[in-house]
Structure formats: structure tokens, C-alpha cells
Amino acid sequence: MIRTLRILAITLACVAFTGMLATSIWTIAGNSDPGNLPQLLSENLDRSGVEHPVTAVLLNFRSYDTLLEIGVLVIAGIAGISMAKTASLEDPQLRTADSLLYALQRWFVPLMLVLAGYLLWAGADRPGGAFQAGAVLAATGVLLRLGGVPMEFLRPGLLLRLGLALGFTVFLLVAVASAIAGDAFLAYPPGMTKTLIVVIESVLTLSIAMVLLALFVSAPVNDAEDPEEGSSS
């Protein structure tokens, strides 16, 4: 009885929510559009150092968002590996010698690495960029991993943590360098914009892949022993 009432209430709430939202979207779509942001953006595009507007927004106009977003990724990575069995992130269960997987691996991995490289390189003037490249790279890693490649760097040691932090650190150093030179935080020095963006994108690709991979492998395997508990509260 209570269950029925509850589902009824939730359904009603969700339907009302959807209805209100759709009405609001419809109304707003009917209002006159005051936005001139795309125009402003294309006017400033040549000052951004890259030709592709989405990349320009991500890594120049709103680079602070991106910096913080990489921070969010790093946080997730940290929180994830803090949960892992401490000795090793290794999951013996996943080391299967599946022949299909092996074949997949042989053909796909090089292809995916090329794709990641292309996406990264394309980011400056065409769709693509660090996120997509990083995701593809991470997917490659997952594939390798499923194929049983050990990947020592994923042990929760200094190397892993350096890898997690690398992209973020480079981004942060670039950001503060201009501030020390007397410009605003995150401003690129004139003339070096494109170079710096490419550098940042490259390291970000690595770090994004690393974080996602770490999160993928750090899920505790079922036979991990309990960590000893010290929390009194």
C-alpha cells in the first residue's frame, strides 16, 4: 500500500516536473533570442590561438572551467585509488587468455592509439581534442587490461600519482606563470598561445586516460581483504 502510494507520488512528481520543464523550454524557445555570444566568440576567435571554436572556449575563453574539471577528474581518481587494495590494483581474475580478446587487442590497440593521436592533433582546428583523445586512450588501456597486460604503472605508487597529476600540474603551472608575469591568472602570453594549448592538450590527454584507467582498475576485487579500520567515530 505504501509502496503503491510512493510510486504514485514519485510518478506524479516526475510527470509534473517533465511537463513544467517542457513548457518552460517551449516558452523560452518562443521568446526573442537576445544571445550574441556566438558572434562575440567568432569575433575573438583569431585572438584565441586555435581555429576550432569549441577548443577555443575550452582551453582559452573558459579555460578555468577546464582546469577545475581536470581537478574533478583527479579527485575522482584519488578517491578511487584510496579505496583500492593497497598492495596492488591487480585483479588476477581479469588476466584471461581469451583468444578472441587477444585478436581484438592485436588489431585494435594500434588503431586506437592512432585514433587518439589524430583526435589530439585535430583538436586545434577540427572537432576533437584532449577529452576525446584521452577517452580513446583510456579505452585502449581497458582493452589491454582486459587482455591481461599487467601495466605496472597502475600500481598505486608514486608513478601513478605523478601520472594523475601531470596534466593538471602543467596546466596549473602555465596558468600561474602568466600571473607571475603580471597578467591575469590563466592568461596565455601573447604569441605562445597555440604552442601552450597544444602542450596542455597533450599532457591532459595522458592524464585523462590515466585517471579513467585508474578508476577502472581500482575497483576493489572481491577477494580484497578489509583494510583495518581505525576510525573511532
Binding site: C14, A22, I25, G35, L73, A79, G80, I208, P220, N222
Partner: protein, 106 residues
């Protein structure tokens, strides 16, 4: 009515579905699916609505890219937590009684 607006409205429906899932489902992974669906809905609204009159707008597209990365980070973290929680307590829901129909014969 443009196709952008159509997608924005679809986003609204996805939001509703996702919200329902988040509130109603008890299995944590299903909640996570619901969260991702709701997230997709929000992103559709975010891009579809401004493009309804103006054509492609790189700003919301960039925002959605950021949003997707944040969402995957949160999802991955949640998966880690859920798996560890299941490992320690054998439960897949947040209710006190471990009566989730999804549980296998452990």
C-alpha cells in the same frame, strides 16, 4: 519548431525519466544509470535550446563536453564505491534490509 528544439524537449523527457529512476530504483547501479540518463537529458536541453534560433553555438557545446567529463568522473567514482560497498556489506541498495532482487546467489 526546429530539430534543436525537438531534441531539447526530448532532453526534458529524459530528465523526467532519469529523475524517476533516481528516486524510485533502489539498486545503486540502476540509480547510476538513471543519473547518466538524466545527465544526457540536461545536456540535450543545454545545447538544443540555445541552438533553436541561433544555429550551432560552441559555448554550450564546450560546456557539455566539460559536463560529460565531470559525469564520467562521478560515475567512475560511484562505481568504485558501489563495488567496495557491495564487497563489504553484500548490499546493492541503500536501504537497511539487504532485499535487493538483483542480488545473485552469493
Amino acid at each position: 519548431m526546429t530539430s534543436s528544439l525537438l531534441y531539447a524537449l526530448a532532453g526534458a523527457i529524459l530528465c523526467g525519466i532519469g529523475l524517476f529512476g533516481l528516486l524510485w530504483l533502489s539498486h545503486l547501479l540502476r540509480k547510476l544509470l538513471a543519473f547518466n540518463i538524466m545527465g544526457s537529458g540536461v545536456f540535450l536541453v543545454m545545447v538544443g535550446l540555445p541552438q533553436h534560433q541561433g544555429g550551432p553555438d560552441p559555448v554550450p557545446q564546450a560546456l557539455v563536453l566539460t559536463g560529460i567529463v565531470v559525469a564520467i568522473a562521478a560515475t567512475a567514482l560511484a562505481v568504485v564505491l558501489i563495488r567496495r560497498y557491495f564487497h563489504l556489506s553484500g548490499m546493492t541498495g541503500l536501504e537497511d534490509e539487504p532485499a535487493s532482487p538483483e542480488r545473485g546467489p552469493e
